[in-house]
Assembly symmetry: C2
DNA sequence: CGTAATATCTGTAGTCACTACAGGATCAAG
DNA sequence: CTTGATCCTGTAGTGACTACAGATATTACG
């Protein structure tokens, strides 16, 4: 059930989360402080490995550490399904906004870049646009 | 030509860049240190206002301060048109990559969210997916 | 002219999510 | 037994600001 057999290095290899990051998560309370050996080395079990993988997945999906904290139920209590949905859809909204913003940027920038003659003078249409 | 008649507050109003940010740009060498009054207050002219607006436009288009530094010719010399184009198209590539990444995220997240029953239990499909 | 509100000054610390050391202790392999 | 890998703590750096604290200076109003 809970053999604490993983060193931080093995945990790092298993989960793809860097050692420093694991310690950082512990420091900010996103991971619990695990038991230590006599020489104060951290030892982890598979449940903690699961939690760390959860965090990593969440980060890959762009959730903030605060979101993940809430999803893990570390705030005050385990969130209800409705609350999880709330967090997730707020996050999706954020992503959609970001995409829209970036698309606008891309459009503007590529049309500006089209005007550029790409020659060796410092007289550049892009610069002129930015200065206008 | 160069009446230094703008206080930092007026410059801030004219350009939409916050006072603290203007001072920060000066500190990191993105804006020159302007002349001061007897009581050491900064005074700006329209050329400096133009430069600040340039920086602001660049930031709005998502350029990094380092990019902007290069575009302004603060590195070593004024960039050629070809170099400006280089910076710009590298930036556009970055934006395109970001858009692609975010789109993937959005897809994953909204399909995960669809599975969610939105009820009052803590038994949530989203959480299960993240833990799987 | 006095006072009060506003503007500016410097310097430092906080944000987010790590990352990169420095300097020391401990462990495993040969 | 020695060497190299791993781990420890603590601090500082990243980017691009933002937010103070505490001091000074200017401006507006009565």
């Amino acid at each position: 059930m809970d053999g604490f057999e993983l060193t931080i290095g093995k945990l790092s290899d298993q989960t793809g989360v860097k050692i420093e990051t694991i310690r950082y998560y512990e420091k900010i309370g996103l991971m619990p402080a695990p038991p230590r050996t006599e020489s104060r080395r951290r030892m982890y079990n598979s449940a903690l490995a699961d939690q760390l993988r959860f965090i990593r997945r969440g980060r890959e999906l762009g959730f903030s550490l605060d979101d993940i904290r809430a999803l893990l139920g570390l705030e005050d209590r385990k969130p209800t399904c409705a609350e999880v949905f709330e967090i997730t859809s707020a996050h999706v909204d954020l992503i959609r906004t970001k995409i829209a913003d970036l698309k606008k940027l891309e459009k503007t920038l590529s049309s500006v870049a089209k005007e550029c003659s790409r020659n060796k003078t410092p007289d550049c249409a892009i610069i002129k646009t930015l200065f206008s």
